[in-house]
Amino acid sequence: MRYWFPYPLLSFALMLFWLLINQSLSPAQILLGAALGISHAWLMVNLRPAKTSMKKAWLIGRLIGRVAADVVRSNISVMGIILRSRNRPVTSGFVPIDITLQDENALALLACILTATPGTAWLEFDSQTRVLLLHVLDVENGSAWAELIKTRYEAPLKELFE
């Protein structure tokens, strides 16, 4: 079973992708999507990506909600910063954060989250020291960034993947 369906989640996602992109739920498209999803998963086997299993998949919903809220919030604040930047230049800075997350897929997800929320930019991750260098647009406003990220995102991700 594992041989034939090496990445079932991926295959499912790909099938979903297929159905979405084709805007169709016809049996033909479902079949075709499934076939393509499965065969593309085989392609992926060759690349040998790190295997990840989601432990508590339901947590993902909570995470998405939290991220969505943050996106809205940070969008507004960044807009403010940009519009006010001429009168009141913002103090931005680099924030190093220790990351204990091990799974690389989880790290990738974290990167996506941090990028999607304006105001924080993932710059560099030292694989030895496991320090993430973050650039934060408004350091004054959030000196507790490191803490925030660790609790708000890293922890749930850890829970999700490890």
């Binding site: 809205v72 960044v78 230049p89 931005s92 999607a116 650039h135």
Partner: protein, 126 residues
């Protein structure tokens, strides 16, 4: 093929609001590209468009076509997903490259990782 004028007012208002707000946010983000003073600050600017801008405009599109074509398949979701997946890659790589170049040149205010070997510091713009 349906026509845009078929859109009822109750749908038109949210579509327009979504569109206008999405594009406004994108514009503000892009203005940030102009107004923010250094590269690292500017790195944040496009994410406005890549997050809120994309999401709002895609929502507008979804709503519009859902009403027009009476369907519930939102392939615009794909755009949101892919933008959110791919923008970090670009920005991460770009930010790191900038960091590297600034360190090499010894630009002020850039945190050093550990002192790299002293470079032949004529590396300017390409």
């Amino acid at each position: 093929m349906s026509h845009l004028t078929d859109l009822p007012l109750w749908a038109a208002i949210p579509v327009c609001l979504l569109l206008l707000s999405g594009s406004m946010i994108t514009l503000i983000g892009s203005i940030g590209l102009i107004r923010l003073k250094n590269f690292y600050k500017r790195l944040h600017a496009p994410t406005l468009g890549a997050s809120a801008g994309v999401i709002l405009i895609c929502l507008a599109s979804m709503l519009c076509f859902a009403v027009l074509q009476s369907r519930w398949i939102f392939h615009e979701v794909l755009i949101i997903v892919f933008i959110i997946l791919t923008t970090p890659v670009t920005l991460m790589l770009l930010g790191q490259s900038a960091l590297y170049r600034d360190r090499i040149e010894g630009t002020d205010g850039v945190p050093l990782k550990a002192k790299p070997i002293s470079p032949k510091a004529d590396e300017t713009d390409i």
